[in-house]
């Protein structure tokens, strides 16, 4: 049985540091190369020594595929290509290629300049890394080499997010990355065709959640912000510079306009304008509505949202601030949080998932006091709200995707073990599919059935089709294909026996049996033949029975009647040994006539 092997180096029963090794048909593919935001030590990056204890890894990996620009999916890429030394191809979509280096540089600055880490990749490393990237477009079939084919599908999660279909021979795998099955304010829904992969590797961040309707969540979000600013409070919304931020900005912008609010809204990152420019230029990756109206009005030109300056942190009065990064693990959002947290009038809205170990995760879990590395303790009195705006597929969405692409096996990654367990059972029950959820470092073997491609001579195919078409349609009737398979020079071709012998350069020899029956039937021989013809025809309805020159023929079976007008007739029944069954049957039939 051919198999597919998967070993998650990250994202196995875990969120963060997505990095999955896939072996299929002799090819090794790395799916995502992410970093873990919750760690500051070597656990931050996937353990690449798993691939080979030392030395270059290029010979072990045929290609790296990056699903989208979030750092937990691409954060370790410069480390892998520039420091570990992988020199093979890296594939991602055009928007990912455009945006990923900016986020990487952002993260590098936080790590090196703010936290003073050494032995981190440099700006030049990021640039050199991006040079190795091959940008792909949606649905384009990319041949990595002679056997390995990949194809990207729209995933909707963030701008440029893609799911990847990977094929080697007749085996195929779909890796979803992060995806979203419902369109949001700026992105469309993930889409895939019925590609029937042997294995679907799906994220499962929201494996147990069925999110309420989008509108309710949005109304809730706006109501909370409005209430807070009405009582003079400050609202902090930690976001990543690109992605969710743009959606929430569109939401807030339209609300501010409609309600005619004057409270300042800030977007606290130098990236804003640049980020919005990316959205403008990759507008073909946004949803239908934005694409339709972009000529008249650019959705990413915000009137009410102004750039933030650090000095505003201590400004009195209400305000709303979008600040990066999204999990409160470093940077400006954390700085603002430390200042605003002790005031119960203020509010922090966490619009996305936070990995274990981040301040965001602690706050969400109700921590009232947070201790920092420098022993600083911050009391959290501000109201903490969690709004699930993160564009992941929920349980319903994951089930929907399975239904769309009809995989033969499912694997869950990028989620929490307990939640995965629940979804795994659900998938097994509803789809009757094998479902896997390997932990990090655990190798999972999926057996696949592989079909073998054969060439078939058109003559054989057409003869079968003709025979089938000549009969009344009956889906239950088995269609039989018979021939001789000629195997030479790595090719396999099925043809009829005569062509096969010719192809192989051998002579067939035939053994023909003839049996003579004596039959009492007065009248001319032709009349007897006619009777026999009718008999055979009624018994062999699906066969081509014909009468030529007084002999009845069915396949290679010949029935010939001889004798003068008297009673005694000689009936010769003869057949080739290949039609032994049919010949014997007809002989038997004639013998038992009249019984």
């Amino acid at each position: 049985m051919p198999e597919i092997k998967i070993t998650p180096l990250g994202a196995g029963q875990d969120v963060g540091r997505s990095c999955i090794l896939l072996s299929v048909g002799g090819k090794n593919i790395m799916l995502d190369c992410g970093m873990h935001m919750g760690f500051n030590d070597e656990r931050r990056f996937p353990d690449f020594t798993y691939i080979a204890p030392e030395g270059p890894l290029t010979s072990y990996i045929d290609c790296v595929i990056i699903s989208h620009f979030h750092l937990d999916h691409c954060g370790a890429l410069p480390y892998f290509t520039e420091m570990v030394g992988y020199t093979g191809p890296v594939y991602m979509t055009h928007p990912t290629k455009a945006i990923a280096p900016i986020l990487l540089e952002d993260m590098r600055k936080v790590a090196v300049e703010r936290k003073g880490e050494s032995n981190f990749f440099t700006s030049q490393n990021i640039k050199d890394c991006m040079k190795k990237v091959v940008a792909v477009t949606l649905h384009q079939s990319v041949m990595v080499d002679g056997q390995l084919e990949i194809k990207a599908y729209y995933a909707g999660h963030v701008l440029g997010a893609a799911m990847f279909w990977i094929r080697v021979g007749s085996q195929s795998v779909v890796y979803t990355g992060d995806y979203n099955m419902t369109p949001d304010r700026h992105l469309g829904a993930a889409w895939i065709d019925k590609c029937r992969p042997d294995l679907l590797i799906s994220e499962s961040t929201y494996a147990t959640t069925i999110r309420d309707s989008k509108r309710c969540r949005e109304r809730d979000f706006l109501k909370k912000i409005h209430e807070c600013v009405d009582r003079g409070g400050k609202v902090l919304i930690p976001v990543f510079a690109l992605g969710r931020a743009q959606e929430l900005c569109i939401l807030l912008e339209t609300y501010w306009e409609r309600m005619n609010l004057k409270v300042p809204v800030y977007f606290a990152v130098g990236l804003t304008e640049k980020a919005n420019n990316y959205y403008k230029m990759f507008i073909t990756w946004t949803n239908q509505k934005i694409r339709k109206t972009f000529v008249q009005r650019n959705m990413f030109d915000f009137k009410h949202i102004k750039p933030f300056d650090k000095s505003y942190i201590d400004n009195p009065g209400a305000m709303v601030v979008f600040a990066t990064p999204g999990m409160l693990h470093a940077g400006l959002s954390l700085q603002i949080f430390k200042k605003w947290a002790p005031n119960e009038n203020n509010m922090v809205i966490m619009p996305g998932f936070c990995v274990v170990g981040t301040v965001g995760h602690k706050v969400l879990n109700g921590a009232k006091k947070i201790e920092f590395e420098n022993r600083q303790v911050v009391e959290v009195k501000m109201s903490v709200q969690y709004m699930s705006f993160s564009a992941h597929a929920d349980a319903k969405g994951i089930m929907q995707l399975i239904q769309y692409c009809e995989p033969k096996n499912v694997m869950l990654v990028h989620g929490e073990a307990a939640k995965m367990e629940f979804l795994k059972e659900k998938i097994k029950k509803e789809f009757d599919l094998e479902c896997y959820m390997p932990a990090n470092g655990e190798t999972c073997v999926v057996n696949t059935s592989m079909t073998i491609p054969l060439d078939v001579s058109l003559k054989l195919l057409k003869a079968e089709a003709q025979k089938n078409n000549s009969l009344p349609p009956d889906p239950k009737r088995p269609r039989v294909m018979h021939g001789v398979l000629v195997m030479k020079d790595n090719s396999m071709c099925l043809m009829d026996v005569d062509d096969a012998c010719k192809e192989a350069g051998i002579n067939r020899h035939l053994v023909r049996f003839t049996s003579t029956l004596r039959m009492e039937d007065p009248g001319p021989a032709s009349k007897t033949a006619e009777k026999l013809l009718q008999l055979i025809k009624t018994r062999l309805k699906d066969c081509h029975v014909q009468l030529t020159d007084g002999s009845i023929s069915v396949e290679s079976v010949l029935v010939k009647v001889e004798g003068s007008e008297d009673e005694q007739k000689n009936v010769y029944v003869s057949w080739d040994n290949q039609d032994e069954e049919l010949g014997s049957y007809i002989l038997g039939l004639l013998k038992t006539m009249g019984h």
Partner: protein, 642 residues
Amino acid sequence: MKLYCLSSDPNRPCYVLRFKEITLMLDCGLSTQTVLNFLPLPLVPSARLNNLQGWMPRDISDPQLEGELKECCNRVFVDSAPEFFPPQPKIIDFSEVDVILISNYLCMLALPFITEGTGFAGVVYATEPTLQIGRLFLEELVQHIEQTPKATLASHWKEHLHVLPAPLRDSQKPRSWRHIYNMRAVNSSLARIQMVGYNEKLDVYGAVSVMAVSSGYCLGSSNWVISSHYEKVAYVSGSSTLTTHPRPMDQTALKNANVLILTGLTQTPTANPDSMLGELCMTVATTLRCGGSVLIPCYPSGVVYDLFECLSSHLENSGMGTTPMFFISPVADTSLAYSNILAEWLSTVKQNKVYLPEEPFPHAGLVRNGRLKHFKHIYTEGFSTDYRQPCVVFCGHPSLRFGDAVHFVELWGSNAQNTIVFTEPDFPYMEALAPFQPLAMKAVHCPIDTSLNFTQANKLIRDLRPGTLVLPESYTLPPVTAPHRIDLVVETDRPIIAFKRDEVLTLPLKRKQGRVEMCPELAEFLLPSEVRTGVSLSTLTGGLQVKDNKHILKVLEEGETKAVSTVGKKRIWLVEDILNKKPRNYTWGSLDIDEFIQKITQEGITDAKGSGLPGWLSSHEVVGLLEDEGSMFLQNVGTTAQ
């Protein structure tokens, strides 16, 4: 495999390919040459056009013909809304077309004629830029014609063709000419287009797969590869190997095709696009320096982007950086906006700009700093305020029969300081100008056609090495305009099949094999025997499943073989089972007669005797005949039945 040729213009192709019971239409080009026979549609009533002399053939007194024809400088024009000659459903029924493949936005203007009201029920494939920009071309065409409705429509001239002067007399089948479609037809026709990416393999009913590959000619332009497991047809439409703004041409995918269909070569084989571009810049600069204005009739997308880029920098360098450039088209804004969001379809240089992020085309900057101003129409608010001479105006239509260009020719025509520069190669420029004569303004012909010239095409054919080359007949002869240039033909050592409009070709592609997927369970039944070194044979019998034209061979489900009755010791099986029972093996090679007799002796037939080869074997019941080909007949005599 058959090819139906529905177009006589190799640059506006429309062909139909029939293969494996699939009907594929290759492009929907609309021949627009016919519009040259009509009078221009002016935006404002033109006294000059209104006062043109009516023309009547001598000896004919058909009152209905009166007023249909007008004469201008010894040329006769039809005074009516322009008409087009779409592909005709004569040799093929459009309702039978399964798939239409569009190569680029210039080859889809006949789409509404083919998909609307014809019973067409198939799907249309085109890239995203082809759809988006093609929509602009269609919309512009409809708006240009609809904004100047004609009160009466002429049709009686078609009855008197033989008495009309040339070139009207030589019109091809004017009774089949049609008025332009309306926006409703455009919208419903474009709604049928399914967007595809380059190198996206599309399955057509499981029988063939089609794939668009970059052709380097314009934004989103593609060639098509149509293939099954064994056969490959490459369709090369407008292609370019020059470096302009689109993604470069992908030649690898076109290699080793059984059949290469080649169309869309340059329409101006004697002009070099680069030197023409240089000449254009010079001409414009010279005219502006002398205080004249320049009119450049153009399409709403394509080379015009390169013109903006080159001309603006040339004028900048010539110290005329403040001369206004106007781009006037009902779709100008959309065209400019779209060009800057289609980065994935651009040349690497332009593509890399979006990573900065900067707009890939400099015209975005030109618009921002007011160097290039775009308006929907000349009567759009703001144009009259911004308009000042000298200036450069880009506007449609290159035929000069409709669109804002008509207005500018009328407006500027009498002033010898002004210049009209023809860059689009689709219309003979003197023909385009004919209804405006006499003209004082200078006319300069700088055709910029980036499609393959004959040298490039011949090199392409050498590199691709197709089994057979199929092309329009005109490519095998020197151009009509330059009959002595025998170098301007396609020359190749590959077999050539040339075609003309309305011909049906049988392409030399004989299918010999089909593809069947065998289940591994069935493979376990294989008993290969090596008959020669490296050649193994095995009989194979399987149940065939055919779904969506995909063949799968499985283990034949042998339902419990039930004996329906028994006769003596022999059981009689169900007839179906007998018919499905195929031999497990076949006999081959030469027969050793002694060994054979030995074997049957062991089986209990003790009195068999061989009598040499060929010859008889005989025993008391069986008589066998051995023939020289190694065949043998065994005969059983003496069984009696009543």
